[in-house]
Symmetry: C2
Subunit: 459 residues, 2 copies
């Protein structure tokens, strides 16, 4: 890792993509010869007020990260240069790789607070080092998928497209947001490399600048329609209804050449009011097939309002609000030690206490597959519900090929359809029941007793 | 760009890191032979209610992006495979590079709505294509720097450290957030590659897991203190005050071996109350030099409250709230056409109208350098204030080496010190005066007249 001082965008990979304290702790573990089996779980502690459920996402990126984990030569050199670590410790990292087991919730699974999305069982140094990036990957995609699922609900059956690149927090966010929102039911994205990397369908219209570089709006419409068979004309640059009338005139002229105006886009003002007027103009002009697409500061609340009013909008572009999860831009997502060297562990910090031990989540559904409740219990407490955590990495090896994104998307759809209707609504509701099973409660009491013993001598 | 289907994290560069509509428009421009000189400006339309000023950031990454712009072979192949573009258009992109001029505000400059942060004058296809990524880069760093500057103010003279990697929106966000927050006055970051790439000072403590893997808290403290000369012990895993008493006992024992306890960290509960009690315990135990470091869901509002109460905290770790700019996770940041082929242009969409033409921002200060007001005017209207937009790229070439980040950081500090006190406060205030000069108003009227003419024939 060269020191670039200020320029450029850093590469976003490597074993050192972590917090300094992970390395500092690894040095201390090394000096004490501590590298026993550690079990960590990644979960969300509480839901933001505006969420009734979460959609697990980011697992494929997490698996790739773990299975590719190696210390590069330039990273080893940086460790030496930093002056913070002993040569013996740095040399001990030469064979670093992830050799542990991972259980996880499938991407697209609907999930709730305290339920592990990921469970890592690995030698301490590996399990500790990967904390920061695992959280970074799973947190963000889960955040976006959970928000996007709400937009899909709010838009009823109308397609929603991700327009988030420009205001996503960096390029990685834009690409992973395109992925997570597609997983959660978006119809596609405008972000080009999201097609190249993830195979996500691309959609695009035109910008106001296209209208503006032409001296005449009608001329701009015609140029675009002739260049793009699959065209959407942006009608709000100057006067939305006047532009719609131009579209009608143009459409009649272009029909002679076999060119159709597929859609118009409205991006400002009262979208519902403009859509109704534009629809009337298009219909009166014989353009019943021409669709209306809307964008501009949209989120699930505005989508729901537009749908409730029966607005004649055929599709939505949603950018900033999903890519930044604007009304809840983070989740209280953590990665906590549950067991070390065969003993269950628990953090008891105020308002941040965790359930100890290696866990499993069982889901109970009714005869038609609708969710009834979940049970959080110890991995050893086998129950007859559906176990949500299943193996994805064993002894450092991926044990199944990546799940195709379209397949995960279909699974996510069935998951959301299985939710109680109240949880799918935009407003808050009675939380979904996640029961803490008695064996887990018993272990918690036991751990508290032993920790209290271990920490009392000083008092 | 291979289609990976679902796995891995995409690379975050290339000419196709853009929205589909940029490419679609380029195809239409190509077919019409339109590639005149286009002037675009990047600016923020309005401030979020919780912000009184912005801090311009991200310019160095923008310059790197523009000067490196090329179409890779795999990107060209993707364009062919996509079936959306004509072979002639794709071949025309073979020599794509940025050949234009860029004026910009220096990083660290305090700025306000409607003031261009960046002005691009380039052949249309280049100026259009770069819209999405330029916004993506400048928006996010400006967002974070503006939030971080508030935290620095709120913390008075106490150091603030970026802890944001785990909940930043992806790795690029984490790294650019470390950079933007350091630019705005943070003392450093915990994100390791931010040191390697940007030279930002690193800080780190320990995680709760370090305490938990040891059977005894005191034993964990001792192991860490012996392994790390520059140690900070986390005291809130079980019982904060009990842990502080253990630190005192340990410190006396370690002093024999020449080891000091540099600091303790409190991460939960009522930070002010715990800090006062821990300070008393440390002082009574003779550890007046041992500092108290606090973290846990902190933002500028909590920092200000803690400082106002005179809490004995010596430094703060701030993560999620700055990395996601949680109370305002996006800015209304846009990139708008101002001039094409020598004629000024303007968008008149409802609530989204822009001031046309190629502009300059002049800043007026008093005798001691304090900001009085800014004037937004045409580039041709030379004034005697300080011009904030200066050339950074001419004819596609960078005309100065990158500004060292530490130098930009010092400049930013003087910028913020020059702000009226009311603007530096956490709460909203009367907006800073940005006057629209008469020549700009006159041009706007003229553009409206000519656009109305151009668009009226249909009405």
């Amino acid at each position: 890792m060269p020191i670039n001082d200020t320029a450029g965008v850093p590469s976003c990979d490597g074993a050192l993509l972590t917090d300094l304290y992970e390395l500092t702790m690894l040095q201390a573990y090394f000096e004490r010869g501590m590298n026993g089996l550690a079990v960590f779980e990644l979960f969300v502690r509480t839901l933001p007020p505006q969420r009734n459920f979460l959609v697990a996402a980011g697992l494929e990126q997490a698996i790739e990260y773990l299975t590719a984990l190696r210390l590069r030569d330039d990273e080893r050199d940086w460790l030496h240069r930093s002056g913070r670590f002993t040569p013996a410790f740095i040399e001990s990292l030469a064979d670093l790789h992830f050799s542990g087991d991972v259980l996880a919730m499938s991407e697209g699974t609907v999930c709730f607070p305290n339920e592990p999305l990921l469970q890592i069982a690995a030698p301490l140094r590996e399990a500790q080092l990967v904390e920061s990036r695992l959280l970074n990957l799973i947190h963000y995609q889960t955040l976006v998928a959970s928000k996007a699922a709400r937009c899909v609900q709010a838009a009823a059956n109308k397609p929603v497209i991700d327009f988030g690149l420009r205001r996503a927090h960096g390029a990685e966010a834009a690409l992973l947001s395109a992925r997570a929102s597609y997983l959660a039911g978006f119809a596609g994205t405008a972000t080009v490399p999201a097609n190249a990397w993830f195979g996500i369908p691309l959609f695009g219209t035109m910008a106001h600048s296209f209208i503006q570089v032409h001296d005449d709006e009608l001329d701009a419409f015609e140029a675009f329609a002739r260049a793009q068979a699959n065209n959407t004309l942006l009608v709000d640059t100057y006067d939305t209804e006047a532009a719609a009338r131009k579209v009608v005139a143009l459409a009649h002229r272009l029909r002679i050449d076999g060119i159709e105006i597929r859609a118009v886009r409205i991006d400002s003002g009262d979208l519902g009011e403009h859509a109704r007027r534009v629809r009337a103009i298009l219909d009166a002009g014989g353009l019943r097939q021409t669709q209306i697409f809307a964008s501009g500061n949209l989120d699930e609340y505005r989508l729901e309002a537009l749908q409730r009013q029966g607005t004649p909008i055929d599709g939505y572009g949603v950018g900033t609000h999903v890519g930044t999860s604007a009304d809840a831009p983070y989740l209280d997502c953590v990665y906590k030690l549950q067991e070390y060297a065969g003993r269950a562990r628990r953090k008891r910090s105020e308002h941040k206490a965790t359930w100890p031990g290696r866990k499993q989540v069982y889901r109970y559904v009714d005869g038609s597959g609708h969710l009834l409740h979940d049970v959080l219990t110890l991995a050893t407490d086998q129950q007859d519900g559906m176990a949500l955590l299943t193996p994805v990495i064993t002894a450092g090896q991926r044990i199944r090929p990546p799940v195709p994104l379209d397949q995960a998307r279909v699974y996510c759809k069935t998951q959301i359809e299985a939710l109680p209707a109240a949880l799918r609504a935009m407003n808050g509701t009675r939380p979904y029941a996640v029961t803490i099973a008695e064996p887990l409660r018993a272990l918690t009491r036991e751990v508290d007793r032993s920790t209290t013993r271990a920490t009392t001598p000083d008092r």
